[in-house]
Symmetry: C2
Subunit: 226 residues, 2 copies
DNA sequence: TGATGTGAAGCGGTTCACAGCC
DNA sequence: GGCTGTGAACCGCTTCACATCA
């Protein structure tokens, strides 16, 4: 166990490990070694050990890790032991799709409110979730105990929405609008940008037109943008 | 100009630069220095210069970069000079939302076909795009000249879908299912995982309960998973 | 003078390799 | 013997600092 600050790359991988463990647990496995885990899920065993070692000594030398126990530890580390109330700003297609997406691994996330500026949408419900006027964000978020906001509005409006979210005192934001945003203080913004990903594929396709010599897979470390 | 292979982090940033330049161009600006670009969009000027220098000498010493010219170069480098036909596998909420999302920066991407395994969806249209049986992927993709596939199915099915896509000869895939996938040969898979992002926010919120001392922004380099 | 292009330094993350423990 | 936990080596990306050139 170390006191050092852990990198976000590391915590991202913890999410991946947790999913792998869930799968193993569902299959009835009891323990697993870092080497076996690495083999099964295309990871690196040294990295698994090092990632886990930041948070404690969870394994048994000569044996490996107890799957159930390690899962519990990871859920605790990641804070997945409570339910987070989420607000989505932007009740368009993307926002609605995310609102409907109940697939977040352990049901630790509940979409409690949607926000929009379109009068035609305000007051309606989308998948059972009420759509509020974005101007009432602060009060509604407070009442509904919102801790995480998702920005799903057009790029031009994203920064203004973030400013509003920060003013309401939220500290965690997921941005799916295709713009980098400027956060302040200790507010954490994660941006997931489909446009960059698609343009990256475009670069790949155009820069390397069908070259097939050499099948050495370029490495693409988990946790990094692939 | 170098012959070295460029990192994906670099090309991701080129997408960002291109968007910044588009904004400046729309405002009527003509030239810009790396320092000014960095200041306006919270980037690092040395990194901008280095990123660009991988691909040529686009600037003029003492002046900066011609915005229009540099935009053109970036579009060429990124392969954004043609239209890519995209197929989306999974006509559920997420797939439909992406199909409807015309916001991809320069309209270089056209969603030409949707695929699903649900007989109730097959044959219908979603936002004007026909939904095909996923079993016919190979033939339909060939006919429609598809070059990029987006996987928007539940996690359990994602690997099988990728296998089918690879068998059809596609080389570029965007995966929005919450599982890491194994690609083969020179097939490029980019995974965008909302679950990891949300769990990362959960970690942030739980690990650091409201600490407000010190407002030094932690750096979050563009291009990396934030 | 002013800004680019770039070698070199710096930094952080990954991988190696092995001591330590079951 | 087998596997964890970890210091050290390694590697790649970022940042600095400056020679170069308009």
């Amino acid at each position: 166990m170390k006191a050092e600050k852990v990198s976000e790359l590391t915590t991202n991988r913890l999410s991946v490990y947790l999913r792998c463990l869930n799968e193993l647990e569902a299959r009835g496995e009891k323990t697993i070694s870092s080497a076996a885990l690495a083999r099964k899920f295309h990871l690196n065993s040294a990295q698994i050990r090092k990632d886990l070692a930041y948070f404690g000594e969870f394994g048994t030398r000569g044996v490996g890790y107890c799957i159930e126990e390690l899962s519990d530890h990871l859920r605790k580390i990641l804070g997945l032991v409570k339910d987070y109330q989420i607000a989505i700003v932007g009740a368009g297609r993307i926002g609605s799709a995310i609102a409907d997406y109940y697939g977040f691994s352990q049901k630790n996330f509940t979409v409690a409110a949607l926000f929009d500026s379109d009068p035609k949408k305000i007051g309606k419900k989308v998948n059972g979730v009420p759509v509020h006027d974005v101007k009432s964000f602060s009060s509604v978020a407070k009442k509904a105990n919102i801790e995480i906001a998702i920005i799903a509005v057009p790029g031009e409006k994203a920064q203004r929405v973030l400013d509003r979210i920060m003013k309401a005192g939220l500290r965690a934001v997921l941005n799916v609008a295709p713009v980098p945003l400027k956060a302040e203080g200790d507010v954490k913004v994660k941006t997931v940008d489909l446009t960059i990903s698609l343009e990256s594929l475009s670069y790949f396709l155009s820069g390397d037109p069908g070259s097939n010599e050499g099948d050495v897979k370029p490495k693409s470390p988990i946790g990094r943008t692939q």
